[in-house]
Symmetry: C2
Subunit: 139 residues, 2 copies
């Protein structure tokens, strides 16, 4: 059985690319710079049920993606979460939060209504993220 | 400068014990079995800013704590998150969620009002957690 992305995740996101373990997605919500990592492991549901090597790789990928967002966006805070109450397929949110954003200081999940990106703003963010991921800062 | 727990975290929780890196706390909210890990690192704010060894240790501790909650409580889902929008001191939530709980399927943060434990229920949960943490399942 091969990996396939949950259709609800697919419907709400745009693909950015493939990391070593995870598919990287952009939540199509212009209110929050919001990435989602989905490990390509069939049936994975809980972060803690991954084997130790996959857990470590996923943490490395979360770190890389979070640092790219910090470099590109200088958020006030990152929110990192594996919830899965609605979509059980294991996925990890990495969200750049700002004191001025639409949900601050509350969580983004369930806050208001998703606002899909305008094409130009989306392309600009994706280009910036791809560049930050390709040339990560040292450390 | 030595580590000290953020007073807001201290006010909302009860101490369970000390792990290798983190102080383990029980959120004093009888609606959700909800643990919080606080790495004893002065000034830590973002998970991704920890050095690689501390990140790995924290992930191990999250895994151990999550497995103890699974063993003891058989939740429908674990929610694992580092948010910190309100309390910037780095802390990681590990929450046992049930399809019948007061916030399902939404997140617990900002949902209704905290309901402190009755003494007996709290002691029972703490005793169960300490036993599950002392005798973790293999794997």
């Amino acid at each position: 059985m091969s990996f396939s992305l949950d259709p609800r995740l697919a419907a709400d996101t745009r693909p950015i690319g493939e990391l070593a373990l995870s598919r990287l997605l952009l939540m199509d919500d212009a209110r929050f710079p919001w990435l989602v990592l989905v490990p390509r492991i069939v049936g994975a549901r809980e972060l803690i049920d991954l084997d130790a090597a996959d857990r470590a790789t996923l943490l490395d990928e979360i770190t890389t993606v979070g640092r790219a967002m910090e470099t590109l966006l200088s958020p006030d805070k990152l929110n990192i979460a594996a919830l899965g109450n609605v979509v059980p397929q294991l996925h990890v949110h990495v969200i750049a939060r700002f004191g001025t954003d639409a949900a601050w200081p509350g969580p983004v999940w369930g806050a208001g209504t998703r606002e899909p990106y305008q094409a130009e703003a989306c392309e600009r963010l994706l280009a910036g993220l791809r560049a930050a991921l390709t040339h990560p800062p040292a450390g």
